[in-house]
Amino acid sequence: MYRYDNFDHQITRERIAQFGDQVRRRLSGELTEDEFRILRLHNGLYLQVHAYMLRVAVPYGLLSAAQMRMLATISRRYDRDYGHFSTRQNVQFNWIKLEDASAILAELASVEMHANQTSGNCIRNITCDEFAGVAQDEIVDPRPYAEILRQWSTFHPEFAYLPRKFKIAITGASVDRAATAVHDIGLAAVKNAQGEVGFRVLVGGGLGRTPILGTEICDFVPWQHVITYIESIVRVYNEYGRRDNLYKARIKILVKAIGIDEFRRRVEADWQYTRNGPCTITTAELNRVAAFFTGPDYEHLPENDVGVAALTSENRAFSNWVQRNVKPHKVPGYAAVVLSLKKTGIAPGDATAVQMDAAAELAERFSYGELRVTHMQNLVLADVKQSDLYDLWHAARELGMATPNIGLLTDIICCPGGDFCSLANARSIPLARAIAERFDNLDFQHDIGEIELNMSGCMNACGHHHVGNIGILGVDKDGEEWYQVSIGGAQGNDSSLGKVIGRSFTFAQTPEVIGRLLEVYVRERFAGERFIDTVRRIGHIPFKEYVYATPVTDDKTLAGMEYRLLAAGAAHDTPLYASGV
């Protein structure tokens, strides 16, 4: 993976000093909260329901074992022994004191990590295919470009105060695992007829209040020009994006308002000034960065390990795990393994300090010391020898990270929701738990097959509910939490936005509603047909009719203490607000 040179280190050090001084001036009252808020957001620090939340960047989802251990250390030293992996491949700590923020950033810097631009109206952490470099369907390894773009976007002087946040995703495979269609810019590395590398560029995708899939602005930008081209897109957005209404400020609204043709015309008009200019990427720079991503020294192994085949036939639990959590690898005899952070009863994406340390150790033992974070909120060991799979499975199982549910019903994408987030209308973690508990039976899940259930606690859509095959959105009706259910959303190559089935439900009704949707699917499906394909074939009406045919009763078992709506801080210790703020 990429290693900092002295320039990266110096820039990071000076950023920490800058932010440390800003914190000092805030605590002394020299900066007002209004002035400070945007500065702290640029350093990943949110003020949430109970305390400050620090969002640490995991650039394009890649972590070394040492970095993962540092995350564990930070969770122990400054938080409550756990971290939350997010849909943007970042990690969030929920119980941070303002006074500790600079010290945490310094600890992160010691392992070449940071929290730069993980919030605020600037270019955010660039996300990437979690199987980059190892996927069988990869055309171009996107990671060198992701790193080059990370550096370009870091403290870009022109783009720190955009109309709204700006998210870029990049993939280099034929299957889009980076959800590029729902980003402000989606990049897909491709090769032209001459074998030259370039990018297909989508612009104006996004979820939130106004979900829109990205539109192609250019089918092939040669790799040398990707910085100048993207810079022109962001520049046009900075000039013309709306600033009068927070909810209409994303680039998608601008692209829709003026149309993709006019938007493209403005981008190309600006690009004429910079194309072939000094910001054109040099082969030397690409080679320098790409040299960090050449992959480990793989052993020569047979295509399929004989031992694994034997074990899967005699051990059903292991076989289930191999079927769901083990993914193909471009090198014979290797596999990529997904460590599930979706064990029933645990908040999706949460990992304890013990798990983080242990995952680092597994990475060192089985996967050349590297891990990835996925936008589905799981972890990946990307370079595992097939002959190690059984030992890895045992070790992961003891850690509670081997639930064989990747791509299944309980592999729920879920935002922090009302338990933590000050924007949320409703809780999402307890509902994810209630749904996971209801459908915990693995045989049932395997029978239902591939399905994505995504949940957001408000229309900002951090839980990507619009692109869930089943989407759940928390809404506020007169101060009460309700849940709107949609079906038919999908991410990836056939992205689509889900359609709401009808009026919303209470917390305690929602698991039953999911059950009814699945009953319709089981009744209507063809053999081997996925949930999303059934929805697309028969439409949403049969689902809607069945769900609303008879009253949905509240599940009484969900009235227990842990599912009740919590007043802020009620279930926790005294909130850790920093003094004087």
Partner: protein, 170 residues
């Protein structure tokens, strides 16, 4: 006092802002060193172009291109930041420097604060009028927050990877 060429200096320019009942045509432009709104320049250029010393300022929703053929007429061009979080002024400044080749004084006015100074300097501002309730000495320090930068902008026309030998010591 303003910050100019990285030092605190006295300044005798004043900024004309239109009041509620003023129109660009009718507003009286006082004599002396005055920085007028773009709209006033456009409305009264026949009179104003006779002045030996004149400045003009752009609002954040105005375009650098509107000054394209007049750049040489002004002793100072200013860009107004109605709120520090309104980032349009950064692109306006860059256009003036990089696209239009303006080489004269470029001044940031309005909600100009210490923590934006470094970025403002990078996109091409060389004069700054920090908000009057803030310590100007602190704002001056903001110009030195970083020793290195990754990207090209108005100050450095080359990105870091063309400026230095990457992967090595400093």
């Amino acid at each position: 006092m303003i910050i100019k060429n990285k030092t605190i200096a006295a300044d005798d320019w004043s900024v004309l802002r239109l009041e509620e009942n003023d129109t660009p045509h009718d507003v009286v432009v006082p004599e002396g060193k005055i920085i007028v709104p773009l709209k006033v320049w456009q409305a009264q250029r026949n009179v104003l172009q006779a002045r030996t010393e004149l400045g003009v300022w752009l609002a954040s929703d105005e375009r650098a291109e509107d000054l394209k053929s007049d750049l040489a007429r002004f002793s100072v061009i200013a860009v107004d930041f109605p709120r520090f979080a309104d980032g349009r002024g950064y692109t306006i400044a860059r256009h003036l420097r990089v696209r239009l080749g303006y080489a004269g004084e470029l001044r940031a006015i309005g909600d100009v604060l210490r923590d934006q100074m470094f970025y403002l300097q990078r996109v091409g501002f060389d004069a700054f009028v920090p908000r009057s309730d803030k310590d100007i000495g602190g704002a001056l320090k903001g110009l030195n927050d970083f020793s290195f930068t990754y990207q090209a902008s108005s100050d450095e026309r080359l990105p870091l990877f063309r400026r230095v030998q990457r992967g090595s010591g400093i």
